[in-house]
Symmetry: C2
Subunit: 330 residues, 2 copies
């Protein structure tokens, strides 16, 4: 059965089920002109949106509809995490060719619903339209944050340490495996591919960082180099990172070596790891580390704006780290 | 200059200006991982989204980038109006080919910014991505409504009158003029085309209706027939409308006659008029009419659910009014 056969309204009936997990906040979900939701007193609202385009952001030869739905939500959750917030309500818009199989659309929604359920996010509305072109998925996500827990990109201070919440470059290495058809070459291939196709947004950690005086956070969507430059520019500071301190798994090393590429480049420019890059005062970090057992890695420090954003090589040589990375339209 | 030449980040710098009109509510606009906004105490939040796809929803041979931007916002404002709400914050996502001229994108944003300014709506974020296919524009809009002013689609009561806020079919007639190249045939062509390309969302009226006990509202996006069926179904009532009472301008009559079509069909199935269809108790309507000078037209009444949704012809003959209209994928 295809979309053309059942039409837009029947589709809405099919996807309505299992969309509201946090019932107290939803007065009216899918079905009216707008969704009606309540907010939490004393909280600020966070609004974010991400658009995924077929053959630009995803390739249905590599992923499937379930994983695609999952990732479309995950990338938005990651943005809310990067503000220290709690994700709440999602709006889902999709442009789909008329001959799209209904079972594929339901799989896409299943992927969205499962991750929404995991993070107690309600799907409260959306728009489904037809297209003669590639599939386009847009998610708009509303989150909340207590005023005192809000962490902006602009709060990094000279003397802060720069940290990252997990190993980097795995998503890029996973994509390399897919693009170079190396699935059978490495016995860990599946794990790296999963890092790329089903990223795990660091929502709980983002909230912990908000409660524990992180001075800035950015999620790693475009690569470490790009995110470092964003924090530096927004905070009007310099950043010095140390190549040797960047956490990269031995599996990523292996893929890079096999392809005769630099594993550090995967971490710096690959992007889509969706780990959190953040800054914290050394004393606050000590308190935070005592309280929380989390994989976090100090990779550098915040320095005077005049120093710019630099990376220190194994031999102590320092070079400017440019904001290359995944920039659309280039 | 094209998008490819300047890249995503430079584009963001270009469009940032003049996006925040209601400064008190915006803590952080365009630029961070998510926008940060405050809500009004005692208000509920309204969330809506609409996606426009090139050659499905718009045709750049008929419209221009400015008008397109304007309409992309207008259709969302109309959804907030249909809940009795006040529009507040907008997120704009766009998929654009890499060779899109920057001046066209700025025109698109100008169209969005001007209507946002008119309704005091802030543009607080978005996503701009590349595509190999048609242009896709998604707007997600956040509004607010006092709990007691919220008007859902589901509140129509037997005995209520059914009203519409203005003449119908004009947008469809405007589209006919464009599609049949009749611009030079009618001296009023420009006005009807404008109704189609630059719809005027009834935001103030929606708020007035919310304050004046309208029992249900729907905005006319898919055509009167479809919207009547939506109110009937959501409210579990029947609806009887009278063909003779449906307001249609003499210009629409003229276009229909010229094309040998039914002017009533334009009103019933054309859609995109973005007038409000609403129901009100006769006594409340009397009070409302005394207080407010607005062009509103009684076109029918709410009846028992068993009667279904019917239209009464000039000769008193009654027929079932099916929910035909602009249904995607059919």
């Amino acid at each position: 059965m295809t979309l053309k056969q059942i039409g837009e309204f029947s589709l809405i009936d099919l996807i309505k089920e299992d969309t509201v997990h946090n019932k107290d906040t939803v007065i009216e979900g899918i079905g009216d002109d707008a969704a009606v939701v309540s907010t939490t007193e004393g909280y600020l609202q966070l609004l974010t949106t991400d658009m995924l385009v077929e053959n630009i952001h995803f390739n249905l030869n590599f992923t499937d509809f379930y994983k695609l739905g999952n990732k479309a939500i995950a990338v938005n959750l990651s943005d809310i995490a990067a503000m220290g917030g709690v994700p709440r309500q999602a709006l889902i818009s999709m442009a789909l060719p008329k001959d799209t199989e209904i079972k594929n659309i339901l799989e896409l929604y299943k992927g969205m619903k499962d991750i929404c359920k995991k993070f107690s996010v309600n799907i409260v509305g959306g728009d489904t339209v037809s297209t003669f072109g590639p599939i386009v998925i847009n998610v708009a996500l509303v989150g909340e944050v207590k005023k005192e827990n809000l962490v902006k990109r602009s709060g990094a201070q000279v003397g802060d340490l720069l940290l990252v919440s997990g190993a980097l470059g795995s998503s890029a290495a996973g994509l390399e495996i897919l693009q170079n058809d190396l699935k059978d070459k490495f016995d860990f291939a599946k794990e790296l591919i999963k890092k790329h196709l089903v990223p795990n947004p660091r929502v709980e950690l983002g909230q912990l960082l908000g409660k524990n005086k992180a001075t800035s956070i950015d999620d790693i969507s475009d690569g470490l180099a790009s995110e470092c430059n964003e924090i530096a520019s927004a905070s009007q500071v310099g950043i010095r990172i140390y190549k040797e301190k960047i956490p990269v798994s031995k599996e990523v090393h292996a893929v890079a070596e096999y392809l005769n590429k630099s594993y550090v480049d995967y971490a710096l420019y690959g992007g889509e790891d969706f780990e959190l890059l953040f800054t914290m005062n050394p004393r606050d970090l000590e308190n935070f580390s005592k309280k929380n057992i989390a994989d976090i890695f100090v990779i550098g420090e915040i320095v005077n704006v005049k120093e710019g954003v630099t990376i220190v090589d194994f031999d102590g040589q320092s070079t400017i780290l440019e904001a290359k990375g995944y920039n659309h339209f280039r």
